[in-house]
């Protein structure tokens, strides 16, 4: 377990107000330790994706962010665009739900991977390519040399998400923000990608803030979890506690809904 003092991200009273005055997020308090996987759980409309985007200064245009978000010794809220851009894709990376829309369909992966590296570092093409290959091997991409020459549509869904993951870890970030990274994937692929996240955390020591609607994802991957409802934190604690004895009524209701499906109604069991 990571040392308790090694605080990577600290959110205090984080709030997000849309241009029309709607409070998307209210008074979010959340800590992420180094090497920790924290899940943000919520249903559609809970504001969970907006939480991630607001950390990167990518919230909807016209919206206002308030409160504080400290990443290491820097304050993210109110940070200038150019400074934020230096952090994005370098110290903080992002993994999206739909890899197809996050990749440029007209460029081979080699160029897209190298581009990310060269945006942040003075690095030669040959060196960058070597680094890209290494990242693809880290995510267990089969035949990485071949993949570098391919276009996104030539890969399967799982392979694409692996490529995205490779792109996200190129710069060995401290923090990976993942927005429903496995929702669009098949069951078998989903498990593989989730386990890959766990492995990367071990090997690279990075922290992951993982947005999901699925408590099963929490059970498989997360150390701690926060439950979000209507933009507010209703519960926060260890994943184990959340999955065995949730303290909030809403948490209990969510868990019950999933458990019910895992245990079929008695009359069909016979």
């Amino acid at each position: 377990m990571p040392a308790e003092t090694d605080l990577l991200l600290q959110l205090r009273n984080l709030a997000l107000t849309r241009a029309d005055g709607l409070q998307v997020l209210q008074a979010i308090n959340l800590d992420v330790q180094r090497g920790e996987i924290v899940a943000v759980v919520g249903e559609s409309g809970s504001g969970k994706s907006q939480l991630l985007l607001s950390l990167l200064g990518l919230a909807m245009p016209g919206s206002k962010t308030g409160g504080s978000a400290r990443f290491l010794d820097q304050e993210l809220i109110g940070m200038g665009e150019s400074q934020l851009r230096r952090l994005r894709g370098d110290r903080i990376s992002m993994l999206f739900q739909d890899p197809m829309s996050a990749l440029n369909p007209y460029l081979p992966l080699r160029i897209q991977l190298i581009e990310v590296l060269q945006a942040h570092r003075q690095i030669g093409s040959a060196q960058a390519q070597a680094r890209a290959l290494e990242a693809l091997r880290t995510v267990h991409m089969p035949d990485p040399e071949q993949v570098l020459r391919q276009y996104p549509h030539e890969l399967s869904g799982g392979m694409r998400q692996r490529a995205m993951l490779a792109m996200a870890i190129l710069s060995e970030p401290d923090l990976l923000l993942a927005d429903e990274p496995t929702t669009a994937l098949d069951v078998t692929t989903q498990a593989v990608v989730l386990d890959l996240l766990l492995e990367l955390r071990e090997r690279l020591g990075m922290s992951i803030l993982l947005v999901t609607h699925d408590l099963g994802v929490v059970a498989r991957t997360a150390d701690r979890a926060v439950i979000l409802k209507d933009g507010q934190v209703v519960e926060q604690g260890s994943a184990l506690q959340l999955l065995t004895a949730p303290s909030s009524a809403y948490g209990a209701q969510l868990l019950q809904a999933v458990r019910q499906l895992e245990r079929p109604p008695a009359e069909l069991d016979s």
Partner: protein, 282 residues
């Protein structure tokens, strides 16, 4: 069993034309490879598979939206291939469908009432207006919706409401078979059980046969007593759901089971450890 199955598929094969470029020689992808199964009256059968397994091709072939290369689809003992287009439309009425994305399956320009009443109007003996209205009201109540929603545009419904409307539309013509294509995977977890409960209940009260297409083994177990696993266009496993889940024979089924997420923390850690060894087994 003396009654014929309400739906029977015999040796159904469908191939798709695949061309990598304009000038490449055409090659065929076998989307369904000699798939057979029968659905008895009142039975609930799950067809479990991932993307590329041939699930969607199967669904489309059942309605003859695809022409199969070989094999037959028999609805209440009648081969769809021998029917004329208008006979086919009549015959399809005994087999209705609920889609994955409830909002996409409802015409955005229509109200709830128009959506639900549409199958009635398409019938040869369409009921007159007040009778149709009456049936829509009954149908909405049967799927647990407030009839006050009738005048609402379909795009202003929540996901759960929209899926109930889609179920009401499917059932208003009293079909024998209801085909559900991933009916809950686009919904929030807290709504899934409610919709599945509704399906289980409707099946019981109406003696409906269910063909439940899903990637989710737990949803399959919740609704269906029998399961068939489809992998790369082939049936790799079939039997009672209980058997398939407890004693899977095929490697793919086992992998599927291992990969299925669970909220049981102990089981979740076991499966995690099973896949990546001792790295995360802390």
């Amino acid at each position: 069993m003396t009654l014929p199955p309400v739906l029977e598929v015999r040796d159904l094969s469908v191939r798709h034309l695949r061309r990598s470029s304009l000038f490449a020689r055409a090659s065929y992808l076998l989307a369904l490879d000699a798939v057979s199964f029968a659905l008895a009256r009142g039975e609930a059968l799950a067809i479990v598979g991932e993307s590329g397994s041939g699930k969607s091709t199967l669904v489309r072939s059942l309605f003859r939206l695809h022409k199969p290369q070989s094999g037959q689809v028999l609805v209440e003992g009648v081969d769809l291939a021998i029917l004329s287009p208008s006979e086919l439309r009549e015959r399809r009425r005994s087999m209705q469908m609920v889609f994955q994305d409830p909002l996409a399956s409802l015409d955005p320009t229509m109200t709830v009432e128009q959506v639900v009443a549409e199958p009635l109007q398409a019938q040869r003996d369409a009921p007159e207006k007040t009778a149709a209205h009456e049936r829509v009201v009954q149908q909405l109540i049967a799927v647990g919706l407030d009839p006050a929603l009738m005048k609402r545009r379909s795009q202003r419904l929540s996901g759960g409401q929209a899926q109930r409307v889609a179920i009401a539309r499917a059932l208003i013509g009293n079909p024998a078979v209801l085909i559900c294509d991933e009916p809950v995977s686009a919904l929030d977890a807290s709504l899934r059980a409610q919709i599945l409960d509704l399906l289980v209940q409707l099946r019981r009260t109406r003696g409906l046969s269910l063909l439940f297409i899903t990637h989710d083994l737990s949803a399959a177990r919740y609704v269906c007593e029998n399961t068939l696993v489809l992998h790369r266009g082939q049936v790799v496993e079939r039997g009672t759901t209980q058997e398939v889940l407890t004693r899977p024979q095929h490697a793919f089924t086992r992998q599927l089971l291992e990969s299925t997420l669970t909220v049981d923390p102990v089981l979740a850690r076991q499966r995690r450890a099973g896949l990546i060894g001792d790295v995360a087994a802390r």
